[in-house]
């Protein structure tokens, strides 16, 4: 449309003013009391969060060597001979990758079925309760359940142990059990995303002669990519932080122990460790004797989790919100 000379803004030198906020001192005393209490708890939480990061930073960074990332751990009573934690880092990455590779597609599929079909409704309700139950089950319970099931001989292709009739401890099995703890998070955030989409989006697609399946695949899921991604990243955070499943289903050996020379499969069928089990082992409460290494590894773990958190925040906030922070418009030249 033809635009008619729109003024770019008030003339130079205009001062933009916001009305001043109402002052707390005008509130009734009781309001001020509760406000102060709420304020204190918020600040208290910040202090605790800051303390975690600060202590880990101080304790961790001092003990952290670059060589820790490349050296495998060794059982030793001497701190300087106990090696680094390259194997646990690799172990964490492998378990997370397997877990999320299972949880992400399955979770999205469950959420899509629940939100878009959900028929018959008794089945949908059952699925929902099952997901809630899974979310509420302690991971150690899932771990011994997983160990019982995955130690069956016919599942020996997943772990060397099971094929020999002993415990089914392996990266494959740990990843499978880990997918169970990530699943509820993926389902919840994907389903929430689908619920929040307006119905007119679906109607628009149906009115163009598209099936439900096409609509979900080509319109709805792409539209909720941020919610799916945040569910997946939250799930990854859960997996990275879990210790019980590692101890029970991965074996929590100090090093990753491939069962044979077959490059990848041999490693994945064998036992190993992750950062969490390494920290547990070396912590003052564990069997190992390298407390400094435990703090260094804890620091690395914390950094990874904080990174994942910041990714979630970014994804859920979206790019637009980030750019337009609180800023007063500036009219013309700044006042001198």
């Amino acid at each position: 449309m033809a635009s008619v000379g729109v003024s770019p803004g008030p003339p130079a030198g205009t001062l933009a003013v916001r009305p001043r906020r109402e002052s707390v001192s005008s509130w009734p005393l009781i309001d001020r009391f509760w406000f102060g209490l709420a304020w204190l708890t918020g600040v208290g939480l910040c202090v605790i969060a800051f303390a975690i990061v600060a202590i880990m930073l101080v304790k961790g960074i001092g003990y952290l060597n670059l060589s820790d990332f490349t050296t495998a751990p060794a059982a030793s009573l001497q701190q300087n001979q106990s090696g680094g934690f390259s194997d646990p880092i690799i172990g964490t990455l492998i378990v997370t990758a397997i877990g999320i590779a299972i949880a992400a597609p399955v979770g999205v599929a469950i959420a899509a079925w629940l939100a878009e079909y959900g028929r018959p409704s008794w089945l949908a309700r059952t699925v929902e309760s099952a997901i809630e139950m899974l979310a509420g089950t302690p991971s150690v319970v899932l771990a011994i359940f997983g160990l019982a099931v995955l130690s069956q001989g016919f599942l020996g292709f997943l772990s060397e142990g099971a094929s020999k009739g002993s415990l089914g401890e392996s990266f494959f099995n740990a990843g499978i059990v880990m997918s169970l703890i990530a699943l509820p998070l993926v389902v919840a955030s994907t389903r929430e995303g689908l619920f929040q989409l307006p119905d007119r989006l679906r109607e628009a697609s149906y009115a163009l002669g598209k099936t439900r399946a096409t609509t979900i695949r080509c319109v709805l899921l792409p539209a909720i990519r941020p919610s799916m991604a945040s569910g997946i990243v939250l799930g990854m955070g859960r997996i990275i932080g879990d210790t019980a499943i590692i101890t029970i289903v991965l074996g929590a050996t100090l090093r990753n122990e491939p069962v044979n020379n077959v490059p990848v499969i041999g490693l994945l069928r064998g036992t190993g460790s992750t950062l969490t089990s390494y920290i547990f082992y070396n912590s003052p409460a564990g069997e190992g004797n390298s407390h400094e290494k435990a703090y260094a590894a804890a620091f690395v773990l914390l950094v990874i989790v904080l990174l994942l958190n910041s990714i979630v925040t970014r994804l859920t906030r979206g790019p637009r919100e980030r750019r337009t922070a609180f800023r007063l418009p500036r009219f013309g030249a700044p006042r001198s």
Partner: protein, 302 residues
């Protein structure tokens, strides 16, 4: 208010020059007054042909009959406007034409609707909806690029995915055609990869029309397409609707009587689910037969 508290202070720039827009020159003023424009200059149509027949149709949500015994023809070459107060069943009737009422739980239908002599209930529903396309009240582009929005409706089922992948010349041509028919191409030609949600409301609605047209429909249903738009966008879309009636049969639901008068060749007035009056728009607006139509048009109710 607390008497001890001083009133909030707000600084207002009092000393600056007033910036009142000077009145525009009269010639410029007259040149763009789209709301004054009447669609009386209608391009002539070569042939009028009956496409759909609505016969004794009853529609219900649950136990509640919202459309009662409506019989109407839909012709290509003419714009049919459904008017009536809120709750008169016009939108439900419109949505039943491409069986979109079926996605609502508990909706039922009696009577027959035919497209080119075939009962629509007997046709494959997705195929039918490609032949009878629909534009909604709220502009509802998909959250993807302008190009993908139109390309999505081209493909039989799954559309071409990705940004530039699988953009064949045929698809490009079809998208361009659809955008041109909807009168949007000139405005967006520079950047078809822009997200559709960045467009203005009027542009979004024209994009939705382009999307509906890209499916090469035979009937176009419009459910109050301009109710969320400003007068200039409305005028653009009305002009577009009148231009389209040659190639597709157009049915439009509108609350706006002026709009019905501007775009429609035939008008059907509905009240509480019943079809009260149907006829050429000139006749319905100038010499309505029914008292209820007279009352509605003169603004007595609704």
């Amino acid at each position: 208010m607390d008497p001890l508290m001083p009133p909030p202070v707000r600084r207002i720039a009092l000393d600056r020059e007033p910036n009142i827009a000077p009145p525009r020159a009269p010639a410029q003023n007259g040149a763009e007054a789209p709301t004054q424009r009447r669609a009386t200059v209608r391009p002539p149509v070569a042939a009028v042909r009956e496409r759909m027949q609505i016969e004794n149709v009853w529609l219900a949500y649950g136990e509640n009959w919202v459309v009662r015994d409506v019989t109407l023809p839909v012709r290509q070459g003419e714009v049919l406007a459904l008017i009536g107060a809120s709750g008169s069943g016009k939108t439900t009737l419109l949505r039943s034409l491409n069986r979109l009422t079926e996605i609502t739980e508990g909706a039922s239908r009696a009577g027959q609707i035919t497209l080119d002599g075939t009962d629509i209930a007997a046709q494959e529903v997705n195929e039918l909806r490609r032949r009878i396309s629909m534009v909604f009240q709220q502009p509802n582009p998909f959250p993807m690029s302008i190009f993908d929005n139109v390309a999505y409706s081209l493909a039989e089922q799954a559309p071409p995915r990705g940004r530039r992948r699988r953009r064949t010349p045929e698809i490009e041509q079809a998208v361009t055609d659809a955008l041109q028919r909807a009168g949007l191409y000139e405005e967006v030609a520079g950047d078809l990869d822009r997200p559709a949600l960045k467009l203005s409301g009027g542009q979004q609605q024209r994009l939705c029309i382009a999307r509906a047209l890209a499916a090469k429909p035979e009937v176009l249903l419009l459910d109050e397409p301009c109710s969320a738009l400003d007068p200039i966008s409305t005028a653009t879309i009305e002009e577009l609707i009148v231009g389209l009636r040659e190639s597709v049969a157009v049915v439009i639901v509108t609350h706006n009587l002026q709009q019905a008068f501007r775009v429609a060749d035939y008008v059907a007035f509905m009240h509480l689910g019943e079809l009260i009056e149907y006829g050429p728009s000139q006749q319905v607006f100038d010499r309505p037969v029914q008292q209820r139509t007279k009352d509605y048009i003169s603004g007595a109710f609704g």
